[in-house]
Subunit: 352 residues, 2 copies
DNA sequence: AGTTAGCACTCATTACAACAGAGTGCTAAG
DNA sequence: CTTAGCACTCTGTTGTAATGAGTGCTAACT
């Protein structure tokens, strides 16, 4: 390449308009349109030279000799990392978000609402993980006897999220005994995080059982069972999957099926989202970058969300690789901030 | 048609094998295969004559002149109504069902389990409506104060289904007051159906308020709010939708999208299922019979399920019109019976 | 009478060739 | 370094022909 210093301003500018053009039209873009579409006053021939360079660097790629170019994954990556100019949210979208994610409107399923909003406003699929246990506060717990040694545990966390599970105890408890246990747990531990309660309970169990009366020991034992981490671990709420069926680039029936199966198996998706937890702020997986076959034709724009300055979950949008990143990225960013604020027990529910 | 009495035994026999053949192969079936595939020893020519008759009667139809015949909706209808020979369940399927729908294994989401089983074992989509309120028994209720006048209501029904909603009261209650109210409701009304409790509560409100102390009045008022029928009304649990993407006859992307949107809007689906409530036993909608565009390429095999001899809900399977009715129908039938039995509070949870 | 063989006919599918259009890479001139 | 020009490549479309499955009808058969 005796041509020039390869990554000059002009090539990047052209890459940018190429990606923009491809995102909006969905078709390989050739030297002619690029020549007209960019500010640079360059002839198609010059552009072709630049294109050849970009292709050598693996940033664009041609489906066949006589088609235009389309961005490769690296091309998209370069685009979102350094070339992108964000577009501000449309104000109607912003107000929909505020409206839906205000603490006042909480219908007991803030996570679901967030997911649905993401899907609705982007016309792609929305995804939100449940907040992690360390930041989920026990508000109230209740035990109900079922048949035999089975006990139904209901617990309310944060402001109003209700969870329930069934545990098996090693002896049979009466309703009254269970009520007592619940009272004890509530008065002792309410307000702490699930994680913290669990640790405290385990400690009690190890150390000073002799100091406690039988009722307390029972209560502690039941609580320990109740707070054992769920088999399922974390989980997420997905919305608007069907939007994905509208994209022609995901038309392949088999691929779509694979994708939807990945959604319902959850495992790989969770693993992917887990990686996003680590980084604060917006993160993007483009196509194969995710490392999962099911996502090789999709991009995932995520952001962690935080409550009281601690990251507790991840939310994002899933769509075709060819998506309007310049709008989606700020959108996901804002949504994450609003959800975090809405979940914050201090700011969220002022007992006005 | 000077031919003969049109609906003779032989034509029906041929229609039957035609439908069977089409269901298994998915391709228009011609006179030759039909001649070989049926017990009748008839030449293709004769069969063609019969086919012409069946076509005149609207039972079969030819995509074009030189294709075989495929059943019309009426053809399918005739088939399932009078020609079908049921196939018994495979024993492994039966045992999976027993296993999953035994009361012992209840994981607190019997309805969901049933839906998933239907989907898994038929490889189509499973659907189960939630049992209607009249047959849902209040077991325990709990109130928790939220900010302001909002109260979180948690109630446990039947054995272990947990529901929750948020209500707004007309004055602010303390945790203790709410606890008292819940105690009152539990001791007075536990064990009755939601519907019955609601009626009783409304009656109390109208009639003898003066007989009660303030605490009781409050309790009754809160209970009334809590038991107000949900905006959503009934609901259903769908499983295995993605299985539907595997069927080539539903390949049309736009159609699939429409179908999935109908699923997530729920409304039309609910309306359709409602009709199935009325009839006891298995009911079938074939293609356009449902009257909904979204289902015009699908069939729906449903059965109502009953607890203590009263119909409380509907369950079924959704798949392409070309499905193995002879297996699906008995399958849905059995599943409905097992689910009903598992939900029955008398037989389900023997405190052995 | 009902049944069957034979045959002409229709129509979807496939294959193949021809062709237009888009866009490239390269060369040579500006 | 940029650009015009040109040969080349590849896709997509169109038209034509051949194939094959299956029919409807007629006439012969039982």
């Amino acid at each position: 390449m005796a041509h020039t210093q390869l990554l000059n301003e002009r090539s990047l500018q052209l890459l940018k308009t190429l990606v923009e053009r491809y995102i909006s039209d969905g078709q390989p873009v050739g030297s002619r349109v690029l020549s007209k579409g960019s500010e640079l006053k360059l002839s198609p021939a010059t552009i072709r030279n630049v294109m050849a360079d970009l292709e050598d660097m693996g940033l664009v790629h041609s489906p066949h000799t006589s088609a235009g170019r389309i961005p490769t994954v690296s091309g998209y990556r370069m685009f979102v990392d350094t070339l992108l100019t964000y577009k501000p949210l449309e104000s109607k979208d912003l107000s929909r978000l505020h409206e839906g994610l205000s603490a006042k409107e909480d219908n007991g399923d803030m996570i679901g609402t967030a997911s649905r909003l993401l899907a609705e406003l982007t016309q792609m699929a929305g995804i939100v993980t449940l907040p992690k246990r360390e930041q989920v506060y026990l508000r109230h717990i209740e035990f109900l006897p079922l048949s035999n040694t089975r006990v139904l545990v209901i617990f309310v966390t944060n402001e109003q999220e209700v969870h329930n599970k069934i545990i098996r105890t090693d002896k049979k408890f009466s309703a009254a005994e269970l009520q007592q246990s619940a009272n004890f747990i509530n008065s002792t531990y309410a307000g702490r995080s699930l994680q913290a309660v669990r640790e405290a309970v385990l400690k009690e169990l190890k150390e000073d059982q002799q100091r406690m009366n039988q009722g307390m020991v029972d209560a502690i034992k039941i609580a320990q069972l109740a707070l054992e981490p769920n088999g399922k671990k974390e989980d997420y709420v997905l919305a608007g999957e069907t939007n994905l069926m509208g994209f022609s680039e995901l038309s392949n029936r088999d691929y779509l099926k694979k994708l939807f199966e990945a959604f319902s198996q959850k495992q790989s998706v969770l693993h992917l989202l887990d990686q996003c937890m680590k980084a604060e702020g917006v993160q993007i997986f483009i196509g194969e970058e995710s490392g999962y076959q099911a996502f090789e034709q999709c991009s995932l724009v995520t952001s962690s969300y935080s409550v009281s300055d601690e990251v507790v979950g991840v939310l994002g949008v899933i769509g075709p690789t060819r998506m309007a990143y310049e709008k989606i990225i700020p959108f996901v960013d804002i949504t994450a901030k609003l959800l975090g604020a809405a979940l914050n027990p201090k700011t969220a529910s002022p007992s006005s």
